[in-house]
């Protein structure tokens, strides 16, 4: 079954540990990871994506996608609120290339490019359902035949797992044609 998962942990170190552990589960064939990334929400509510990419444009694109995904993981309320309220933000700040699917959390990615504080607040509202202030999370798209491997790994790092079937997100808020939001291999995260 294809799922999107968010594993919320106490700090960045735990998140990095979880990211690498996730890919080790892939190596072992217990799950298949299609992409994963690490995010952090600071004490003021702003989100950052830990990236290895030094290209500002790519960083924004990754952030938009992850923002949308976080909104979707938050459930229908979070995603719907984001889709309605962030559409204007997306149109004004990102351009027409970004679809409505990215709107749910689009402002999250823009933190990397320093947009207005009101947009940060909106992003914080969206993702606060999943990632509390001061916490970090591993976000991933995985195929898993059973949930135990990821659940056990999360337990070992003291994480809380949020999981939604990919099919339920695709139906309304997520555009599978978009790509590049989650790193398709293990990497050493660094906050831009």
């Amino acid at each position: 079954m294809d799922n999107y998962v968010a594993i919320v942990v106490d700090n960045d170190d735990k998140a990095y540990e979880g990211l690498h552990a996730l890919w080790r589960l892939d190596d072992a064939g217990d799950i298949t990871v299609h992409g994963a990334a690490v995010v952090h929400r600071d004490q003021y509510g702003a989100m950052d994506v830990a990236t290895k990419d030094t290209d500002p444009g790519a960083r924004t694109a990754i952030g938009i996608g992850i923002g949308a995904l976080l909104g979707a993981l938050a459930g229908p309320v979070g995603a719907a609120a984001g889709a309605a309220s962030a559409a204007a933000v997306t149109a004004a700040s990102v351009g027409t290339a970004a679809g409505i699917g990215a709107a749910a959390g689009g402002a999250v990615g823009l933190t990397a490019d320093a947009v207005k504080s009101s947009e940060h607040d909106e992003a914080a509202y969206e993702t606060g359902f999943v990632v509390p202030r001061g916490k970090s999370a591993i976000i991933a798209e995985v195929s898993e035949d059973w949930t135990t491997p990821v659940d056990n790994m999360a337990k070992q790092i003291g994480g809380t797992v949020y999981r939604r079937p990919k099919s339920s997100i695709l139906e309304s808020y997520w555009n599978d044609d978009d790509d590049g939001y989650l790193y398709p291999y293990d990497y050493e995260p660094a906050y831009a």
Binding site: G29, S143, E144, D145, W146, T148, G180
Partner: protein, 128 residues
Amino acid sequence: MNDMKGALEQARRDAQALHKKAQDATAKKHADIRANVEKLADEALKLQAALKVLKLSQHADAQQHLNNAVNALDDAAKNAKAIKTANERDLGILRAALRLRTAIALKQLSRALAAKRTSVKGRAPQFV
């Protein structure tokens, strides 16, 4: 791990390497991008040829994903070749397209691998 599963996992590792190279090559200055893309095109076509052989031994679900990956790699190779002679205006579009195509190819390979792993029965109970 049987040989066929290993071959698919190796193909995904090759696609991951290609994706990294595409990311790195297209993050440079325009002159450097043009200098690096020809090799990328060759590597994309080489991987594409390997996938065409590999898909013959896969079941239908994985085959479909591999077909998609083959098509994406074909597009990626075309994008890479076009970059070589593109004007400044088109370079940005082609650069983004190259990144996207290699990412799609990789994702499709990843899905083929997931399908293959799921088809291996008796590994784990089905809880989801």
